[in-house]
Symmetry: C2
Subunit: 451 residues, 2 copies
């Protein structure tokens, strides 16, 4: 029997993450993001439902202006407020024992020395359940919050990301040898000086002496997620990531993308199976198909098309608020935005899509509507296409996850599509079978490199 899919709950420490407007649904409680209990109880429910991850998206600034203003973002709660997700991790770690905790952090927001220390401390605290989603910030406001005039160009961002991961790999993998922490009361020796090393990193952007201040944690390097879809981003993922988010319009498209990306992984000197793929999907569940469709229609009544467009524009680099809804996408598309709109052209293959299509289809893209059995059928297709996991987006928190766990998970477990019990060990071990990064990973080159 093929392996069960992994399941990740895709959330953000904010009110309106993706399905803008849905926070107004009567049962929606995502407005309670300031409450620690809100997140801890969600995490406990996810663990009860055998989810593998709670995955926090993040931004460190506003999206580009909409109708020349950031008013729309504030009014619709669109990722503002946007609270720090990383500081929720220890409370979640303490309240659960198996759930992976994935945190998004941009190379822009934290110095790699400080970031490496934070993650290692959390990996100890959680007994090896931390994952890092590596991002480079796309919002010009984010860059202006950190002292830059504007967003750094794409290629430069990835050169920066290359150095950033280089620094943290040196700290996580190279600074402390195994067996360095002795804590020997009898001999009065706490650490073995011969096994701890300064890293003396001196690069384009960073100079970091070291040593790393934290002893090796269960996973050393956290499990690495990445979501780049540009050619440079995909090469970065092929070299570094262990799991990648994809948003394919169909299992067939996913299979093509996965096959092509695995080729890049092999070109980067790794094994094809070293990269796992998580497809983003949302679910509207009914006891009959008709009920599910009716519920989807109810959700759609709350969806705020203007907010959807404001959000989408961030990836396109155009203020869509100034365009009529009937404007053909071709009129606003630029060289840099083509990859961000590919899904729309695939979703409307027979004619030129418009801004209105963008608004209407963005929430429906990756939405599965049906009975638990129908949903299981669809998930089997994704798994057969080679997808390793599902990144479950939500309409309501905690509702979308509670419903999934109550109605869909048992059917999936029955069919071997979802695990009944967790595999033992760290988050990396649950996904890949090993606590530490594979020897083919570039970070592994730093093991023993500073002895």
């Amino acid at each position: 029997m093929p392996r069960p899919l992994q399941f990740s709950a895709f959330v953000m420490n904010t009110t309106s993450h993706i399905t803008h407007g849905a926070w107004r649904l009567p049962e929606a409680r995502q407005t309670e993001f300031n409450s620690l209990e809100h997140w801890v109880s969600l995490a406990r429910e996810l663990e009860r439902g055998r989810f593998d991850f709670i995955f926090f998206a993040d931004v460190v600034g506003l999206y580009a202006d909409h109708r020349s203003s950031w008013e729309k973002f504030v009014e619709s709660g669109l990722q503002i407020p946007s609270n720090d997700p990383s500081v929720l991790a220890s409370a979640i770690a303490h309240a659960t024992s198996e759930l992976g905790i994935a945190i998004t952090s941009s190379i822009l927001q934290e110095h790699p020395f400080n970031f490496a220390r934070k993650i290692s401390t959390l990996d100890h605290a959680s007994r090896g359940r931390i994952a890092w989603n590596i991002v480079t910030s796309l919002s010009p406001n984010a860059w202006r919050n950190f002292g830059y005039d504007d967003i750094t160009p794409h290629e430069d961002r990835y050169a920066w990301a290359d150095e950033y991961v280089d620094v943290v790999y040196k700290l996580w993998e190279g600074s402390w040898d195994d067996g360095a922490l002795l804590q020997d009361k009898e001999r009065a020796v706490h650490g073995d000086f011969t096994k701890i090393h300064k890293i003396h990193h001196a690069g384009e952007r960073y100079r970091v002496e070291g040593p790393h201040l934290v002893a090796p944690s269960p996973q050393r390097t956290p499990l690495l997620f990445q979501a780049g879809s540009s050619p440079t981003g995909r090469r970065f993922a092929a070299r570094n990531a262990e799991a990648q988010f994809i948003q394919s319009p169909s299992p067939k498209d996913a299979k093509a993308l996965i096959d092509d990306t695995r080729r890049l992984v092999v070109e980067a000197g790794r094994k094809a199976e070293d990269l796992n793929f998580f497809q983003g999907l949302s679910f509207v569940i009914g006891s009959t198909e008709a009920e599910a469709r009716r519920r989807a229609d109810e959700v759609d009544e709350y969806i705020d098309d203007d907010a959807i467009i404001a959000h989408a524009a961030g990836g396109i680099g155009v203020d869509l608020g100034h365009y009529d809804l009937d404007t053909p996408i071709g009129d606003i598309e630029s060289e840099g935005s083509r990859s961000h709109l590919l899904w729309l052209r695939e979703a409307v293959p027979d004619r030129e899509p418009t801004v209105r299509d963008l608004a209407r289809l963005r929430t429906r893209n990756g939405r599965v509507v049906g009975t638990p059995e129908q949903i299981a059928d669809r998930l089997a297709e994704w798994r057969d296409a080679g997808v390793d996991g599902i990144n479950v987006t939500n309409y309501t928190i905690p509702g979308s996850y509670l419903e999934f766990i109550e109605h869909v998970t048992p059917v999936l477990q029955e069919r071997g599509l979802a695990q009944r019990e967790y595999r033992p060990g760290t988050t990396r071990r649950k996904l890949t079978g090993a606590d530490l990064l594979d020897d083919h990973h570039p970070a592994a080159a730093y093991r023993g490199a500073f002895s």
Copy 2:
């Protein structure tokens, strides 16, 4: 009856914080700092004992070399490993309801935009129980971990600190007006755009556009601790801090220092009582004085004098490992280190102290040995001298705190020297009577400043 003293547990996310060597005591469990349960259970015990704070010291680098090497630090576990304390906060917040959580963070280690966001998120998560101990890093290795060739000169560090707090004050106090977060499902308005403001900070070192990404938390600005003892440091504390650590050799000295510092507070345009003083003390408790003295001797057998000297040298700027123990302090003292050694000259008033005195007296300085009743007598003297709280250092974790709570706290409560129940509300309200900073505080000037 005068107000009870506040009590703070002075800890660090490491094995050997201050009383180096004591980790080898049979009952010492501070070696378990990697464990989240270790900290959560300590926090629960502190709350049971009505402590006001768990206070985390921190460093982001090694102390200056000892005998031209950092070997001593590793072998004695002297603040290496040194884990990130801030990531423990949410687990502690979730497991407690009244305990204040004080985190040390250096201006060196985190960009103020990111730091402000982290603290605001934690202040929400803890319902207003976060305090920040503002420091400028003293270790040259810390500066080299963050890209500098060496430590920034003292005056420049405080100019940097001035701008750093300026940025975070703008974000915490000025970016969001009261009532900006509406979350009105009916009217479909999540936030009031007219009440949220970019801060457009442009200074010597930082440019930060804003807005702050987190809505106002219960305290907005966290309770502010500072421990500077130099003239510049004391002026910074007088202007900014709400609580200051002192390490006076006697209640009489404390009174003089407090009176003098309150004068600086008033000069800075604040009220004298706006700054609270926490004296650092450790306790060795016995059911008789003789038993307490015997236990103190037992502890001293484990104290590692060479580690004590290695640590002390950090503040002096001299590698004391190269000096004979009989070297007079005058031979190694420099202009910059004079204030760091004042306590030693006060402790050995009748002759020139030596390096050996430094080693022996550093752990005994601020140590109270006796029965619970004798300790209560001493604490009454400190309170009568004007001290507002006691920063309780430890020999063992959790032992030193459990013993204090079991044996001393009841006697203190009996005498009105310790609270029996918490005052309600946020950590600032418990200390000062108000949730928010006083109008005289420089941060208050930013309220409404960006409207």
